[in-house]
Symmetry: C2
Subunit: 370 residues, 2 copies
């Protein structure tokens, strides 16, 4: 773990995927500066897609960051996970076709994970694939969903069930956008930051324990370091396993449980990061029941999740059976085998498909509820 | 041009695309024989998707060609190009989710080009990509759409506007299915066969002129040879240029004009191959106006299209402007430049974006109408 204590204003990483490689640029003031978007435009046609919450704050600044002489369209969708549907993506396709956009157009996803996932999927399938740029404006999308090319929408029967692997041309993370982020959403983003420590980097977990207050106080230096370290780990894993045949599944720590909560509670009622926080704690407790984590390590996991301002209790109205019903549809499962990401230690996640079902049911039944 | 005169019952080709390579098997009796489907199944969950016309003829036989012990689902969609919509693909996703199918499932596309395109697109986006097998039952899909991984659906504003490049695990062409194909659809398929001669193989064009009667009489040997030669040319071009950055665009000879006819007339009223036939003749005439083809070569083009039983006249109610409006949306265009596939000679197609617009408008205005 080597984080410098005084970061330069802009940091850049590379996601190494051969001819699909792309940079992640992190820093303040990227949004309105034309030097950042220009190199990644495929042609003269550009559509900025954002939502009703982000548009009044950042749409004008984003547009200002485009060079002169382009054909620029804007599309403002409703906000929220409940809008992450095929119907919303169809609205993007309709707008692209109405504008006569061709295969050399570029979509810009300006917003959080919902916008990034939908715009990426729209780009993946418009005329069989066009360019897009991720401009994530929430911590969660900056450290997770904007990197790695997972795109898609939800289906009433499951989260992200329809989608594609489609890599952006670049990810532009303007850390200034976090200054207007509601604290509940900041906490949700911190869940994914904690995840990187839990799955791969116990040193980073220690750094987070020391710096959690600074992060929640929006300390620019701490945020930049947390984002950079998170993106670095994500980029490494994605470069190893772009389409999740193996190690990439580890990024789903807490997500199998978390997706079940989100789907059961109705998308948007629990934030994704909140559900993942509880899900990571469930994974830690199950790992402890398997003899892999100590009680103290589970307590340490709970403490950092709580320090991030995240809930520790599962929804009151969800039975063990409710969890299992949703978890059986998880994309990681192979044939009828349930596969879970668990912790062999802090900073050491593994994919496990041999959890005795009694142990899992017991955990789900006894886990504290609200 | 070396076509053997007595083909073996089964022929196999390979589409060389690195780790996405796959075989094309051609011959009679493949459908009910379990040796053909089994090697290409990703797991134990299989869904056969077909349409109302094909189901009574071949669904039972296809199912019989699956090994024992699988979880098999069937989905029968309505028939016709008008059904090639996002809504139909959504029905496939709904059925997959209702059946609890996971990422290791396999879709089988049993039918013509519409089924193949939709099932391929459904496979491309279900859980970000699952396996599928093409089992084309029309000549058109056997020689063209089932090979090369172009999948997708139509949009009211344009054909194949929403889709993905997604390669099948295998293409199984049972030539017996042509015995029940209506002659109008056989002719439509022959348009794409003729296309291969026109773009890349004047020797094959000569062979087609000699064997057109045998082909239309469903001579098994002639059909097998025509399919094999067509698939070979298509596989070569796809291997060179999977995502149509260059040479693959040549496969669109006649399609820019043809798509305009299909879209203007309402999908399904003109068969795709019929529209392509007229489109190829338009391309030949425009090539002649550019000084590349002789009048005799255009006449030879018209003669082989007519011999295949295809129309030579454009729709009476389509003006030059109607054509241009539709053609401007073509996926090959870059920025606002119209790109056409034309013929520098018979068997020698090229991508051209410098056709004087006056010449094009003149051709469109003067081309014979019904």
């Amino acid at each position: 773990m080597t984080l410098t204590q005084s970061p330069a204003p802009q940091r850049s990483l590379q996601v190494a995927l051969g001819e699909r490689s792309y940079p992640i640029h992190i820093g303040p003031g990227l949004l309105g500066d034309a030097t950042w978007l220009s190199p990644y435009l495929a042609g003269r046609q550009v559509m900025i897609v954002t939502n009703e919450t982000v548009a009044p704050r950042y749409l004008a600044r984003c547009r200002q960051g485009l060079p002169e002489g382009l054909e620029v369209e804007e599309l403002v969708l409703p906000d929220g996970e409940a809008t992450k549907t095929l119907e919303s993506v169809s609205r993007i396709w309709d707008a692209l076709l109405a504008a006569g956009f061709n295969r050399r157009c570029t979509l810009i996803a300006l917003g959080g994970g919902v916008i990034g996932d939908m715009v990426g999927f729209a780009a993946a399938c418009y005329q069989r694939g066009v360019a897009f740029i991720q401009v994530p404006t929430t911590l969660l999308s900056q450290v997770d969903s904007s990197v790695g090319g997972k795109t898609g929408v939800n289906h009433p029967r499951g989260k992200n069930m329809i989608g594609a692997f489609w890599q952006p041309q670049a990810v532009l993370i303007d850390t200034d956008t976090l200054l207007t982020l509601p604290s509940r959403e900041l906490s949700a983003g911190l869940a994914e930051v904690i995840k990187y420590g839990l799955i791969r980097d116990v040193g980073f977990l220690g750094w987070l324990e020391e710096n959690m207050t600074a992060l929640r106080d929006l300390d620019a230096s701490a945020l930049t370091q947390a984002i950079e370290r998170s993106c670095t780990i994500k980029a490494e894993i994605v470069a190893e396993d772009e389409t999740e045949q193996g190690v990439r599944a580890l990024l789903n720590l807490g997500h199998t449980f978390g997706h079940a909560i989100e789907a059961h509670q109705g998308y948007g009622n629990w934030l994704h990061g909140e559900a993942v926080g509880v899900g990571m704690l469930m994974a830690a407790e199950l790992s402890q029941r398997l003899g892999w984590l100590s009680v103290a390590e589970v307590a340490r996991t709970a403490a950092i999740i709580e320090a991030a301002g995240l809930p520790l209790l599962a929804p009151a109205d969800m039975t063990a059976e409710d969890f299992l019903d949703r978890m059986r549809l998880d994309k990681k499962n192979v044939d009828s085998r349930l596969r879970l990401i668990l912790l062999r230690g802090l900073g050491d996640a593994c994919l496990h498909d041999e959890t005795p079902s009694g142990l899992l049911t017991e955990l789900l039944a006894s886990f504290p509820r609200r």
